[in-house]
Structure formats: C-alpha cells, structure tokens
Amino acid sequence: MMERKYRHDATITKVDHLDEDNVFLTLNAPELSELSKPGQFVELETSQFLNRPFGVAICDKKAGTVGIGVRKVGKGTKEIFEYKAGDKATLFGPFGYGFSISEKTSRAYVIGGGTGIYPLLFLLQELKRAGIKTYTGCGFQSLTHALMIDDFSHISDDYLTACEIGEADVSGTAVDALAELYERHGQSDGTIVYACGPIPMLKAVNAWCEENGIDAECSFEARMGCGFGVCRGCAIPVIRDGQPTYDRCCVEGPVFRRGVVDWEGL
C-alpha cells in the first residue's frame, strides 16, 4: 500500500476544556508534528460531511504531538468538544502557507482575537526559539471569554489582554492592545505584526499598520472544500498584478501579507 504522508490516524492524548465553549486537544501524531510550521492548519475528520480546518496551536516535535484549540460554534465543533482522551482522530495536513519568520525580524507584535489566538501560540514558540522579541495582545469580548492568558503571558516578552467589556489590561479591542504595546516598545528595522482573528479585527490591524507604516501578516479563515488547493472553494480576495482576483486560503494562505489582500473586497 502506498504511503500516506499527509494523513494521520492520531490518538487524542489530552483534552483540556478551557471554558464552556473551548477545548484544547493534544494529539499524538508524530509525522504531523514533524511537518508543521506556525500558521499552517490541519483538516480534522468528523461525522459531518466536510473536514474541519484548525490552525496548529502547539507542536512538540520531540513528543510527536500537536495541539489544536477548538471553539464550539456548530455541528462539527460540537462533536469535537465531546472528544475524550484515548479517542482516535483522523487528520490531514499540515496544509497552507504559514507565518514567515525572517532573519531580519527583530521584534514581533502578535495580535489575536477570539479563536484566532490558538495558532499564535505555536508562532510565539518559534519566534522565541529564533530569539525574536514578542509583544502579544489578545482581544476578547470580556474577561470571562479570555483564554490561555497564562500561556500567552508566559511565552511573550510583553502581553496584554484587551476586553471591550469589564476590567482588563486594556479596555478596548486587540488593536488597542497593539497600540499600547507599540507605545511601550516602538519599532525598529524588521518590525512586523502577526495577526489572526475575525475579519473586522484584521481590517483594523491593517488600518493601524497602514497608518504606522508597518508590515503585517494576517491569517484568514474561509470555508474550505479540500484544504489542499484543488477545489477553489476557499476564495480570499487579493490584488495580483494590480487586478482583483481570488487566492486560495488553503494554499496561498491562510497567512497573507497585508499588501496583497483586497481589503475592500473582503
């Protein structure tokens, strides 16, 4: 039988229910963890028809495990929420063009909102390994919705939680946290913003970067058919050669340089 390098019949080794709607799964999948880079995603099989995409949130190549954070929003994620340690799970991946970590990068602002924070954990891990200073801001609806504060503040050189409701480090959005962090740490050559979260957040990040002349890499979500580039289901509006067109979220993305994205077209 032919080798199936991108198919992983994994075992769930750990299930952490972060709150009523969020679960963090650790999966034993050595080849997957070997191949994964920050910003890439996996496609998880459920009893629903299409597989479900999730960013790789933790990757321990030594242990041969990956972690994904999942928020319960619909039928597929509801099912995933019920997984127990010991259950089997089939995943495909890793897929997609992840975050790029350049030699020139000196400091990174890492901005997340909602479930967008999960894949940033893996990114932060790799940025740290590369010796890059990281300033992280995560935005949530309220403090009760905030997730993994300890993990993020522990791995970042500076970390702020932003909430629109209630008391937090910053009262406002993730972009307000970004502004506050920028206030504190400024920029130098090779400063970059990494962002992952809902479209309105990404738009605001883009506007802020525009204003401050900083480059950004933004991770997008799109409904996916395949996850590996053959169906063209996952269109993200971009500008290529001056023309508006659609890139594939699963191949050219999910991470896009902010300059190529057709922000109006979104």
């Binding site: 390098k5 991108y6 028809f49 409904r223 058919g225 590996f228 169906c231 063209r232 659609y246």
Partner: protein, 305 residues
C-alpha cells in the same frame, strides 16, 4: 499479486484503470502530486477551462449538506492560453490520460477552446455543457438537445482528440441529451455534473452560497447518477463515463454495472486526497468477490428485473 485486469477503454482511449479524477476537484493535478504519483490513475480531467481568465464567484463558494456539498466556484481559471502554457505541459508528462474540461458561453467559445487544444498532446476534451454556476452557456446549452448536438458537432470537426460531452442531471430526459451528443459525433458522454441546489443560513436569512444556488455533489447524488448512467446506457451506443457520489471501490463497480465504461471521482477527493489510490487498491478484491476477472467485463452487466 492479483491477476485482475483493471484496464478499460473509453472509445479509442485505453486507461490503465477506470478511475479518472473529475473536473474541479483535482485542480490541474499538480497540487495532488504531493500526495501520490498521478501515474496510478486511469486519467485526470482538468478544472473547467474558459477562453478568457475567470475570477470566479465571490465567497462563500461552498456549503455543506447531509451526504454532500454545494459549490459555486464559478469556473475560476487562468484562461486557455495560460493553462496550455503553464499547467498542461506538466500534467501531460504524468503517466496518465489527460482530459481537458472546456467550458464556454456559446458555440464560439467551445470552438475556440477545441482549436486551441489541437496539438497540445492531451488525450481528450470534455465539453462542459453542464456547469450550473455560471450565468450563460454550460447548463443552458446542456438542457437543449439541439444545442448539445450543434456544439458537439462543431468541436468534433475541429478537434484532433476524442470529444466527451459532460451532461447535466437537471433535465427531464437525460437519455435525450445523450442521444443529442451521440448525434453530434461525441466519442463519449460523461455524467453527472452537479444537481442544482440551495442552502439558507437561517440566522442571516441569506443563501449560504453567495451565488444563491450551487451544484450539489457527493454520495447524496449517487442514486440519481446511477439511474441516469443506466438510462444513457440504454439510449446510446457510445461509451459512458459515470460519476456522481462515488466514494468507494464498491461504488465504482456499481456504476460500471449500470453501464459506465470508466468512472470519475470528484467530491470524494476533497474529503481525503488519497481516496482514488485507496479505491484502486481495493478494486481487484471487490471484483474478485463478485467473480469478475477484469474490470471491463462488468460494464453494463446489471440484469434488470
């Protein structure tokens, strides 16, 4: 190990096995080559190609349904020129048959596509007279026998490779469509394309798909596809390429018993990129289990009551 002969013929074309990748779920093949050597396949049908580049429909392009999915990609492709320059040369080098799915707004488009593909080195052209996700051409042509015949004949006169005509299931009498293709000189008909469907997001009250309607594919369409393949098998003498909801080697056999000389696999690849090799690996033992020694001998062998 197994001595089952998997080779099959669609008219003059001989494929090493009956599993051909369907159009639109295999790109131009290159993305799939990281998963497996395309040489294991009977053939590959390219994504639908148009005369000019198409941007496709805005998102969402995909919706889910029990037993299947809806799509309205809208034929996003770089246009025939670029495809011939950038995509086909690689694909033709693979050890498999290459069929180009051609989609147009009118007769002129199809003729231009057939012309452009002359001498390129592909193995067949599949006329997409059935895409439900574009405003003109395709399905509008594919539900009118006279138009099917006209377009087929015009392409047949020009093309230097066999012409397959891909039919839409959204018609009252599928057999009449196949007959029209045959009358126009088609070398084969392939069916089915997608069933026209819709889903609504009850919260936003919007169709889930930006195009409002989309093409329904996957295992949920299999019984309809099977019935239509058999209707065409009874209606025409040219070979039939059967597709629609094939998910397993058993489904391949069922489709061929109904009359398909070869099959295509679409949506199943999206759920598992290794699906087609898995089916090819399983096919000999399924054939053995029903007492067949070759795949070609089962074509149309269903015995109606």
């Amino acid at each position: 190990m197994s001595t089952i002969d998997l080779s099959c013929r669609v008219g003059d074309l001989t494929c090493k096995n009956p599993l051909i990748a369907a159009s639109g779920t295999f790109g131009f093949g290159r993305e799939m080559s990281r998963f497996f050597d395309l040489g294991v396949l009977g053939g590959v049908v390219s994504k639908g190609v148009t005369v000019k580049e198409r941007r496709g429909n805005p998102p969402h392009r995909i919706a889910e349904a029990p037993g299947g999915m809806l799509n309205a990609v809208g034929l996003q492709n770089p246009g025939i020129e670029k495809v011939i320059k950038e995509d086909l040369p690689w694909l033709i080098k693979q050890d498999t048959k290459v069929i180009v799915n051609a989609a147009g707004d009118d007769l002129g488009d199809y003729v231009k596509l057939a012309e452009a593909l002359n001498g390129v080195g592909i193995d067949a052209i599949e006329l997409n007279l059935s895409c439900p996700n574009v405003k003109t051409g395709c399905m509008a042509i594919g539900s009118e026998p006279a138009l099917i015949e006209e377009v087929t004949r015009a392409c047949k006169e020009i093309a230097d490779v066999p012409i397959w005509v891909k039919l839409t299931p959204n018609v009252t009498h599928i057999g009449d469509m196949a007959k029209a293709a045959e009358a126009g000189g088609a070398d084969a008909v392939s069916l089915i394309n997608t069933l026209l469907g819709m889903r609504i997001d009850i919260r936003t009250k919007r169709p889930v798909i930006r195009n409002n309607t989309g093409g329904y594919s996957g295992p949920g369409v299999f019984p309809v596809a099977l019935r239509m393949v058999h209707e065409c098998f009874k209606a025409v003498n040219i070979p039939i390429v059967g597709l629609g909801g094939i998910m397993s080697a058993e489904d391949v056999v069922e489709m061929m018993l109904a009359g398909a000389s070869a099959v295509q696999v679409g949506t199943a690849t999206l759920l598992d990129p290794y699906t087609m090799p898995t089916m090819i690996e399983a096919l000999p033992s399924v054939l053995e289990s029903i007492g067949a020694t070759s795949v070609s001998e089962i074509v149309g062998q269903m015995r109606p009551w």
